[in-house]
């Protein structure tokens, strides 16, 4: 926590206590009229309780000490031991005033008046409370010794969140530990409750830590568990228990030992005092290293409002543009000093860009995690056992994209659960394991992110989809589209082939929303299915980082940007090759036929082509296409600006960018162009 953080929390405390004091006053005044109102009394108590607790935590010791007495009085009222008399209320109001002073200007408050109030309070309450300050129990640290620690968790400990492995780790942290598991109490499989811990442990520990420190490891279960801590005079020999029964140690199991660790404030003190230990010769246990590392890591993480991040990204983007313009302007200059500064700025802008790019990226695991609960609920609703497996949680996507993918993925998971996975009987008949499996994977591939939802259900029903598509007029009757094209039709509006509309899906509403969202994200959907084995829907999304590396090209008089991550290579298109490939759709690139697109034709450029054109070979989703351009102009730091809604029908571009001279250049949508290229390919293949 930085000092400003501390300042912040102090401010918050002040503000909060202000509110609490005001509330306390209100409640007390109400209480005057309704002195037996339980709610009011509870309210007052809680306010005092919170003020005391927070006060102590933020260093307002006098407030805490003072409030404690008032709180004790109200506790007794709460318990019904005394009544909320007018005197008491009066006094409490006075106390409240004092509390306020203790917060606002503690230095100006004198003790005497406080004592007076408390004395009168005591009179009214007729019984002072005792509160011993936490006793400092300092366990002796000293020479290394060998201990034998045998323990076994009580029934239900694991369900209540205890983790014996962490305890063992803590023992390891104390020194050298040899751990042997005691498996004798593990019941046969059909009696085994997987949420229970039947294993006990026998640990030999060589450490400088004291017995109390060792006990602290088991702090929360001391009262309920089996624990024996025995100091050994010599290191254990080979006869050390290996699967043998827990031996009775000389020390009585801890139920009786517990009192030696009381009073309870000592526990807090015990946890508290380790960092204060300066006298121990040997390295002290977990606390100091942990305190140190907690301090070192105090840079941790910071919460930032999303808008501020977006603003920052915008500024960086503009900086990159301005910097690139500056570079252009100084290109002609002879001034070496200016040029070197410009280069420096370019380097800094680049680094800043790299850093901020990382800021917007979020691992998709955050999204996947939410689906566990979803699958669990669906599983219950449908009466099907469904298991969710995820891969690639660390795959990073732009923050805004992750949010928009949530709904489509939910739809796909529901669809797979509802229609893809068979009922338990169905699965049994098909010889499949009872648990249906839905696998969510995410990975990067070139300039795209692939996210897929796969199920091991019955697969898509080709005939039904074909029939439905014909009914809806999406394909001509009798047409034989390829599987993947046919399956894609399930995303058309109103398509649902579900025989019944279940609560979850079947209204044909979900899938076209999926398509629409993916379209808006300028992505694509692929569907694969194997009858009887399952189906897989893959979402292909562009990596729309706000700033990418681009290749600037010229087609006719216009300039365009191609995302560099999609570019495989650039080759020359000699005039002869150009002529040879006129009227054809393929280029021979090192003996491989690559479909190509003349961008001049696609973009209806009026200008005649250059004699030496270039072919930029790009790839997406494993397929390639060559884009014929007039000139390759070079690398360009591309700040992606999205296109207006009015251009949502424009297919070939995924966005736009501002060039160094202030004009706009469109960014080519590589996956779309690759798809177009493939369409040529298919037609060609179909024709031949």
């Amino acid at each position: 926590m930085t000092s400003s953080d501390i300042g912040d929390t102090n401010d918050t405390f002040r503000q909060e206590s202000q509110e609490l004091l005001e509330e306390l006053e209100r409640v007390l005044l109400d209480l005057e009229h309704r002195p037996t109102d339980g709610d009011l009394i509870d309210c007052a108590f809680r306010a005092l309780h919170t003020l005391k607790g927070s006060g102590a935590m933020f260093g307002f010791d006098r407030l805490a000490a003072f409030t404690h007495h008032v709180e004790t009085a109200f506790d007794r009222v709460r318990k019904g031991e005394i009544k909320a008399t007018a005197d008491l209320i009066e006094l409490t109001l006075a106390a409240k005033d004092r509390m306020r002073l203790l917060i606002e200007a503690p230095d100006e408050v004198d003790e005497a008046s406080g004592e007076q109030v408390l004395a009168r309070l005591q009179d009214v309450v007729a019984g002072a409370s005792t509160d011993a300050a936490p006793a400092d129990v300092a366990p002796a640290e000293g020479r290394p010794a060998t201990w034998r620690v045998c323990f076994r968790l009580p029934v239900g400990a694991m369900s209540s969140g205890s983790n014996p492995l962490l305890m063992i780790e803590e023992l390891h942290d104390l020194g050298e530990a040899t751990v042997v598991a005691q498996t004798d109490s593990i019941p046969p499989l059909d009696e085994l409750d997987p949420g229970e811990c039947y294993v006990g442990w026998d640990v030999q520990l060589r450490t400088t830590a004291s017995r109390e420190t060792i006990e602290q490891v088991f702090l929360f279960l001391l009262d309920d568990m089996e624990l024996s801590i025995e100091r050994l005079e010599a290191p254990a020999d080979a006869g050390y228990a290996e699967g043998g029964p827990l031996e009775e140690s000389d020390d009585v199991p801890v139920v009786a030992e517990a009192p030696s660790v009381q009073p309870p404030p000592a526990e807090a003190a015990a946890l508290q005092d380790e960092p204060a230990q300066k006298s121990s010769a040997a390295p002290s246990p977990e606390q100091t290293p942990r305190a140190a590392s907690a301090g070192a890591k105090s840079g941790g993480s910071v919460r930032v409002p999303a808008e501020r991040l977006d603003e920052m990204m915008d500024r960086v983007g503009e900086l990159v543009i301005a910097q690139s313009r500056l570079k252009q302007l100084t290109k002609a200059s002879e001034e070496s000093q200016i040029k070197s500064v410009v280069e420096e700025i370019e380097r800094l802008a680049g680094e800043l860009q790299d850093i901020t790019m990382g800021v917007r990226m979020v691992a998709i695991g955050t999204l996947f995690g939410r689906f566990r609960r979803l699958v669990h609920d669906i599983s219950n609703d449908l009466g099907k056992e469904i298991e969710l497996v995820t891969e690639g949680e660390e795959t990073e996507l732009d923050k805004t994209m992750i949010e928009r993918l949530a709904d489509p993925l939910v739809h796909l998971i529901r669809n797979s659960s509802d229609h893809g996975l068979e009922t338990p009987t169905g699965r049994a008949e098909a010889g499949k394991p009872a648990k249906g499996r839905i696998t969510l994977t995410a990975r990067h591939a070139g300039a795209e992110v692939l996210i897929s939802v796969r199920d091991d259900g019955r697969g898509l029903d080709r005939e039904r989809i074909q029939a439905r598509a014909e009914d809806n007029g999406l394909i001509a009757p009798g047409a034989k589209p390829a599987d993947q094209d046919l399956f894609k039709l399930i995303f058309e509006p109103g398509f649902s082939t579900a025989k019944e509309v279940t609560n979850l899906s079947g209204r044909g509403v979900g899938m076209d929303v999926v398509k629409r969202t993916i379209d808006e994200l300028r992505g694509a959907i692929d569907v694969r299915s194997q009858t009887g084995e399952g189906s897989e829907v893959t979402l292909r999304l562009p990596l729309t980082l706000a700033i990418i590396d681009g290749l600037l090209v010229r087609v006719g008089r216009s300039r365009y940007v191609i995302p560099l991550s999609a570019v495989e290579e650039c080759v020359e298109l000699t005039p002869e090759a150009d002529v040879r490939s006129t009227g054809r759709s393929f280029l021979n690139i090192r003996d491989e036929l690559v479909p190509f697109i003349r961008l001049r034709e696609l973009f209806r450029s009026q200008v005649g082509s250059d004699p030496f054109q270039k072919v930029v070979i790009v790839s997406a989703g494993g397929a390639r296409v060559g884009l014929v351009v007039d000139q390759v102009l070079g690398d360009h730091q591309t700040v992606i600006k999205s296109l207006s809604k009015l251009h949502s029908d424009v297919k070939s571009f995924s966005g736009a960018t501002i060039l160094g001279d202030g004009t706009v250049a469109l960014i080519l949508d590589v996956p779309q162009l690759v798809e177009d290229g493939q369409a040529h390919d298919d037609r060609f293949k179909a024709a031949s």
Binding site: G317, E318, S644, L646, H647, D649, V650, A656, I658, L666
Partner: protein, 174 residues
């Protein structure tokens, strides 16, 4: 889908397109730019196939003359791009409207429908947002959102067929 008559004064920016005067709601207007270099967008609809850079934002430029079936004269020194912000299909959009000339911000007064002459109105009532009066003239405030919406029908073709149907185009829900 009635054409709305103004029932209270409306602040507008008046501009000219091919000799005709139109108006845009002043509260939609963000800024007025001189002509700047434009980039063509291959594959976009003809009336909105240009984009410009407005302080780092990529803004499409709409040429309403194409939507109104007007001729497209060359740009002049008076040509301006009026950048407006409005809701199209329930989403906020920024668009530049190309104008031959921009006049001024003025107030349109309410007027009754009956008083509006039928002559000279070339488009469907749906694409008129308001008709108001300034001095003795009636000025149309077109419904830009509807005109530019991807769902808008082709006004020119519509117009041709409307002309064929009847000589007088009724304004009041025709």
């Amino acid at each position: 889908m009635q054409t709305n008559m103004l029932d209270e004064p409306l602040e507008v920016l008046t501009l000219a397109l091919q000799g005709e005067i139109f108006a845009l709601e002043a509260q939609q207007v963000r800024e007025i730019l001189d002509l700047v270099p434009v980039t063509e967008v291959p594959g976009a609809q003809p009336f909105v196939d240009k984009i410009i850079n407005v302080r780092g934002k990529v803004v499409p430029v709409a040429d309403l003359r194409l939507k109104f079936g007007m001729e497209q004269a060359e740009d002049t020194v008076d040509t301006r791009i009026v950048v407006i912000e409005l809701d199209i299909d329930r989403m906020s959009a920024i668009v530049g409207i190309r104008a031959d000339k921009v006049y001024e911000v003025t107030e349109l007064a309410p007027s009754s429908l009956a008083a509006v002459p039928r002559v000279g109105m070339r488009w469907r009532p749906e694409y008129i947002r308001f008709i108001g009066k300034r001095d003795d003239d009636f000025i149309v405030v077109p419904d830009i959102a509807r005109i530019l919406s991807p769902n808008a029908i082709d006004l020119v073709a519509e117009q041709a067929s409307l002309d064929r149907k009847s000589a007088s185009v009724a304004l009041a829900g025709g």
